[in-house]
Symmetry: C2
Subunit: 407 residues, 2 copies
């Protein structure tokens, strides 16, 4: 029997404990050993929980119990998650985490410590929740050069954009509805500003490139400026606005960005709605691979964490590895300004607006001119898009929205 | 360095050889060892191939070379694929296969032989081609009870159905176009009759249930009877006709079937078109997980096979295991007759047709009555659907089409 400890008895932690009990037979068969939750770390009391006898408040109890060989970290935030994880790895205990903030910031160090101590640091649940993403990328696509990763990585914002599309709601109304349904936190800033998506695309980028991608350095735009008219125009054109984390090959380096995109209906991820997550990989051999599932929630996240527990117990887990911040160089990544796409841009309407836009951009395609002049450009770099928009602004023609397009 | 041999230098075999060369750095890093293709087995000569010096015609050369520790079998068909695989496993060589016929029929025995000899029998490429399916199912979803598997598992038929939908083509025209594009063989019977899909859903069922699912015993209907008017009616209703392999939990046993289904547009797999494959899993913890990618083709299939090579070389592969035909019992599986779904049925039009249908089925919903009377039933078992259709037939009301509906 393998004894494990679960850190944090919130939504995800309690899901892990429940799943270990309800599907014990499947887990034991897959791991080749019984898995028993010996401790649950939480500062709160749970007098009515059937697991109340296993709850401890002092991490040292877990750390110093040699019977505990693996820790499931469901704490969220960097501290004490990072500190507890590091201490556990140094004591020769494997760590399984769903904590994207800790993985994105400190994954390199925790992975190194795990290797040095002959144990695992695993984090399938940190990206895509219950959607298999990290293992398919690391294992199934291991023979491929990945040319692009585009991910709907945050269920809250995908739900908001879906509501804006389906019911023509404003951003504020859709956010309120997401909060009411429990899909958004009371403070939703990390979701709606793209910070959560940024952490997740950084983790995928770390794996794809082997280089530390610092979340603090990634161009990140959230969805707060998206308007119902933008959503409607894109739907009429034949697509959907999705908040994407994107890592894309330009020459022999990658550019990383987080931003709302116009996604053509021809792409599978355009039809991934509500709280679902999806990641589309473009690979040199496998071609296009899309993975879709529940990005959050108690049991989906627990499912991914327990799959890591099984891999660790059976000794068949994958060891990711990427550079440390100290090994990083300024030019490890290129800027999104170097990435060429079509852009959908809304300009203020006006008698000569189209003529002026065409004069600046070269020929553009008019998508709609009811509420504003929506045009689609040819493929141009981010730098050129910015330059043309600024030039028109100087001439008095204001832009309202500018979004990259994935055809 | 690990020496491997590739059996068969056709489309897939040559893809494996090319990929091992073009992405040698990635493969070596992931496997922790260089992988070298020492032999290629083929009866033909390839005087212009850069690999001509590695081609051998006698399998014994490979079998008796102790330097060869792994064999990549790209032969297709059961023989000699099965015989060569068995011989290699007995000699302590791991085998990687894309051969769904051999895996579906003889997988149980080859897996057992691999275990007995401390080597691997791996077959990620046998289902979904370049789409990650078997590893995500076996590893990522290992903590789940899988309640349903629905897969678009054959690119040829998906292409044909897509053409029928997009261009209102007849089955025959769409098949001819698939053959012209190289998406269908000159003898397409295994594809269009559902035999290929059947082998693949059997493999997934073997993994999900741990029980040998005999392809010869699975209710299998192909797409040859699908008419353009059926496709159009379903599109107008809001969905698509897809040939699915389906394994679904009924009580505590599974039913397996291969048939064209009406798939509601709300399901992701409804929008998986052309030669793409997709598998949707419904799981008790992870919820709905959908995996989509290229189901065939040189490099996508090679990508999946090389991912198995990497797993075998690094010793971290998953060992599937299911019962042998001898251990199987008649009641391991239940009949599709026991599975309840809504049905879309087309009846001959006629003055009192709807009244007679309602009298027999209870209230049905009329979907269309232009070319025929298309109705959708409530949820009824396959047995009840057959019974009602037969009763109406006896009364002189003929049915033209009857398809299960996935809402």
């Amino acid at each position: 029997m393998v004894n494990i400890a679960v850190l944090g008895f919130g939504v995800v932690g309690s899901g892990v404990v429940e799943l270990c009990e309800s599907n014990a037979d499947k887990i034991s068969a897959a791991a080749g050993n019984d898995v028993y939750v010996k401790y649950i770390l939480d500062l709160r009391d749970f007098p009515d929980s059937p697991y109340k006898d296993r709850i401890v408040k002092d991490f040292e109890v877990i750390l110093n119990d040699p019977e505990v060989s693996l820790i499931v970290e469901c704490l969220g935030g960097s501290h004490p998650a990072y500190d507890f994880s590091l201490a556990a790895l140094k004591k020769g205990k494997s760590v399984v985490s769903s904590n994207k903030e800790t993985v994105a910031k400190f994954g390199h160090e925790l992975l190194k410590t795990a290797r040095e101590n002959g144990v695992y640091y695993l984090f399938e649940a940190s990206v895509g929740g219950g959607t298999p993403v990290i293992r398919p990328l690391s294992k199934c696509l291991a023979a491929n050069r990945v040319e692009e990763v585009c991910g709907i990585l945050n269920g809250t914002t995908n739900y908001i954009l879906t509501m804006m599309n389906k019911y023509s709601e404003s951003f504020a109304t859709a956010l309120a509805s997401a909060q009411e349904k429990g899909y958004a936190e009371r403070d939703p800033s990390d979701d709606i500003n793209g910070v959560d998506t940024c952490r997740k695309i950084c983790i995928l980028t770390d794996i794809v490139t082997g280089k530390f991608c610092d979340p603090a350095k990634v161009d990140t735009t959230g969805i707060t400026a998206i308007r119902p008219e933008d959503v409607k125009t894109v739907e009429k054109w034949g697509g959907a606005i999705k908040l994407l984390g994107r890592c894309t090959l330009v020459g022999d380096k990658y550019a990383v960005m987080v931003s709302p995109f116009v996604v053509s209906a021809d792409r599978m991820i355009a039809s991934v709605d509500n709280v679902f997550n999806a990641v589309a990989f473009k690979c040199d051999a496998a071609g296009d691979v899309t993975l879709c599932g529940r990005g959050a929630g108690k049991l989906p996240t627990a499912s991914a964490m327990v799959s890591d527990v099984i891999d660790a117990v059976s000794g068949k887990a994958y060891r990711a590895d990427w550079s440390t911040p100290e090994e990083s160089r300024e030019d490890d990544f290129v800027s999104p300004d170097d990435v060429a796409d079509r852009f959908l841009i809304a300009f203020d309407n006006g008698a000569d607006a189209l003529a002026r836009v065409n004069a600046e951009f070269g020929e553009v395609r008019v998508i709609d001119d009811a509420t504003a002049l929506y045009v689609m450009t040819e493929q141009i770099t981010g730098a050129d898009a910015k330059k043309h928009i600024a030039n028109l602004e100087k001439l008095g023609l204001k832009s309202q929205t500018a979004l990259r397009v994935l055809l």
